[in-house]
């Protein structure tokens, strides 16, 4: 069973079109959505996602609109869990409690905030659990064994299963060559009873196929941002027509990753 977590940047290229892209993802077979709220300084992201964030912010993205989009998505597709990805600055600015309340109310299942690691989190993990939200830690292959152990103990004590596995060092978007080491690492994490959302540099159905036995879902991010970028350069006609063509392009890309032609 191949499951995808499809990533998109809210507000890219516009709020409306990003919603169409999300619909295309779900209709193409996405099992999870990862909605990124754009931040002005996304240090963990590569050029494609950076550009998408800049464009979304230039288009006037606000948190209010972002939560509204997530709310609409979660109502339309209650069967597709939505994880919200963003950076500490946005989560912290008006208060972590405020941000998490908004997320909960919008129907979010969990959050990925890479620069609030579990041991410097400003209370974010506990506050998320209190609300029944999943704070998703990012695990990297270079993580020290005792640190991983510390994290696992924390997760166990709260019955938390979801973790995000970055398959290599570096930033999003660069290609990843899956090695035996990757798969061994994933196998060992899976054996610990964790539900893995694994990604970084995933762009082919062969990669999805190779990862699927070990993970809850394969995360596809920059590749889909690239699909959206390429599609919008050819969009024509009314807003409605543009939305339909974008949705179709994204749908096709996602379904091809799951079920190659």
């Amino acid at each position: 069973m191949k499951k995808l977590m499809c990533h998109l940047v809210a507000g890219y290229p516009t709020m409306e079109l990003s919603y169409q892209a999300a619909m295309g993802m779900v209709e193409g077979g996405a099992s999870y959505l990862e909605v990124q709220f754009p931040f002005s300084d996304p240090t963990a992201d590569g050029p494609r996602i950076q550009e998408a964030c800049v464009q979304a912010l230039e288009g006037g993205f606000t948190l209010q609109e972002g939560f509204q989009m997530v709310r609409n998505l979660s109502k339309t597709y209650p069967e597709v869990p939505i994880f919200l990805m963003s950076y500490a600055s946005l989560v912290f600015r008006r208060g972590i409690s405020w941000f998490l309340d908004q997320a909960k109310e919008a129907g979010v299942k969990g959050l990925i905030v890479p620069d609030l690691p579990f041991d410097q989190d400003e209370g974010y993990y506990e506050a998320a659990w209190e609300r029944g939200l999943h704070p998703v830690s990012v695990i990297v292959p270079t993580m020290e064994a005792n640190r991983l152990h510390q994290l696992q103990k924390l997760l166990e004590s709260h019955g938390e299963e979801f973790v995000y596995v970055a398959l290599r060092t570096g930033i999003t978007g660069d290609p990843t060559n899956l090695s035996d080491e990757n798969l061994t690492f994933l196998r060992s994490l899976k054996a610990r009873g964790l539900k893995l959302l694994a990604g970084f540099g995933i762009s082919t159905s062969a990669q999805v196929e190779a990862l699927s036995p070990y993970v809850e879902a394969v995360v596809v991010g920059s590749y889909l941002v690239g699909i959206i970028r390429d599609a919008i350069s050819t969009l024509k006609g009314s807003n409605l027509e543009r939305g339909v063509s974008l949705k179709r392009a994204v749908n096709r890309a996602v379904s091809t990753l799951i079920q190659p032609d």
Binding site: F39, S40, D41, P42, T43, A44, G46, P47, Q50, E51, V54, L57, T62, L63, A88, S89, L90, V91, F92, R93, R94, G95, I96, S97, W98, P114, D115, L116, P117, Q120, E122, G123, Y124, E126, A127, S137, V138, I139, V140, T142, M143, E144, R147, A166, T169, G170, I171, D174
Partner: protein, 461 residues
């Protein structure tokens, strides 16, 4: 009792665990809010910093190069003409800009460069805004024989072309950053991304006392030479300072210059206000109100001068402490930043690229909130006027960044008595600003000159 480090040696205390029971924190500011991929390289860096930097061998090498390569000690100059002209306190200027490559940046670049070599790193990366840190790193890497790449926003590359040229002469590869606002903060982002992609062989020489721990501690440690030297130079004259004044961008010259005077005697680790620290955080619930002024002898007034730019208003300045700064978490550390309601980083402006940055080093923010450091601003115009004033009155050319400190000194000097000793740090010298100051102060003749230059380039093709 707190040990006062001597000028030619860093004490263990200077390097290591300081004011907070949580290493890397200053009150609730600082920390290491980074993606997991950067955690291990930062842990390794911290270990190396704590074990290598205080060692005799490291210190011997560092101190020797501070003399022979950097040109230390830098002079402490009595600004007699200014003192006579303005009345009030006696003004001294620490001529830090006479260090090699024209600014204090070299103290830190050399320290981190030597640490990189001792850690066996094969490659150095750095960010730069005005180009002063980039030039310093490029020179140090040439000296040490380490390949060097400097990230610089494309906007900064345009306005600081001469420094791009000098970095390349020193053999550095200068990479333009086209993301975001294409200025210093984006160069920091790009350097962090590079480091995340090459954590094993690469050393990131960060230029200001900010970023994730251990950088704020490390940069202060390497810049503390400015303050320790000043203190000795004053002591040799039989003087105690009444006030110290420095410009503040990220704040590396200020924290280094203020370092011997930051915490009163008797101050101990563990006394830090913790309220808000473990609570669920937000910009508005953090409380670091704990006043050092409760101590009987607090030391000289410490005055930080931020970029007032064109005046108040979003995007017009870079005043975090004296302006509209909010507590936030950006680029791996918690401090005060210029942020909008959603937490997006706001644009900034200053005539001096070195102060044109939305965040301030966490230790300065902490000491500002506690009332130990006073913050004020100087506008673009005041800085340029101060630069001009000191050139004519003293024969000393301030960098535009440092001229913000100079402007505040000119404003405040008459409020002191003639027993008082006021020291301003001229963190850099002004040669690098030729293209900015000439167009501001001598526009027509400068334009004619440039047109002639362009024409003559055409002739020789």
């Amino acid at each position: 009792m707190r040990v006062q480090p001597s000028a030619d040696r860093l004490s263990k205390q200077e390097v290591g665990e300081r004011q907070s029971p949580l290493r890397g924190f200053f009150g609730s500011f600082g920390g290491r809010y980074v993606a997991e991929v950067l955690r291990k390289p930062l842990d390794e860096l911290e270990q190396a910093f704590l074990s290598i930097v205080p060692s005799k061998e490291f210190q011997a090498e560092y101190q020797e190069k501070l003399k022979s390569f950097v040109g230390r000690p830098t002079p402490l100059y009595y600004a007699e003409n200014t003192t006579r002209r303005l009345g009030g306190g006696r003004l001294y200027i620490k001529l830090e800009g006479l260090a090699a490559t024209g600014a204090h940046k070299i103290n830190n670049a050399l320290g981190q460069g030597l640490l990189a070599r001792r850690m066996g790193k094969k490659r150095v990366i750095a960010e730069t805004g005005a180009g002063q840190h980039g030039v310093a790193v490029a020179a140090v890497c040439a000296h040490l024989g380490i390949p060097c790449r400097v990230y610089m926003g494309e906007v900064d590359m345009m306005r600081q072309k001469p420094n791009v040229f000098w970095m390349e002469r020193y053999g550095a590869e200068v990479v333009g950053v086209s993301s975001g606002s294409r200025t210093l903060k984006d160069a920091v982002n790009e350097a962090l991304r590079d480091w995340a992609s090459h954590p094993d062989d690469t050393f990131y020489i960060l230029g200001s006392a900010l970023g994730p721990a251990p950088y704020p501690d490390m940069v202060r440690t390497f810049q503390s030479i400015i303050g320790r030297e000043t203190k000795e130079q004053l002591a040799a004259l039989g003087l105690e300072p009444t006030a110290l004044i420095a410009c503040v961008g990220g704040g590396s010259n200020a924290i280094g210059f203020f370092s011997p005077y930051l915490y009163p005697e008797g101050w101990q680790a563990g006394q830090v206000e913790k309220s808000g620290q473990r609570a669920v955080g937000s910009s508005d619930t953090v409380n670091t109100q704990r006043h050092l002024s409760a101590f009987p002898s607090i030391g000289p007034r410490l005055i930080g001068v931020e970029a007032g730019g064109r005046g108040p208003g979003k995007g017009q300045h870079a005043a975090r402490m004296s302006g509209e700064g909010k507590v936030g978490i950006v680029q791996g550390y918690k401090s005060r930043f210029l942020l909008d309601e959603d937490g997006q980083v706001l644009p900034t402006h200053s005539v001096s690229a070195g102060l044109d940055y939305p965040g301030i080093g966490p230790e300065l923010a902490y000491l500002g909130d506690m009332g130990r450091i006073e913050f004020t601003t100087a506008t673009d115009k005041e800085a340029i006027e101060a630069m001009d004033f000191f050139a004519r009155t003293e024969g000393i050319l301030f960098a535009l960044e440092s001229a913000h400190g100079g402007a505040a000194a000119l404003r405040l000097l008459p409020s002191f008595s003639n027993e008082d000793v006021v020291v301003v740090n001229m963190s850099g010298r002004g040669d690098k600003d030729l293209f900015i100051t000439a167009r501001e102060l001598d526009r027509e003749r400068w334009k004619e000159f440039l047109q002639r230059e362009v024409a003559s380039l055409g002739d020789s093709l």
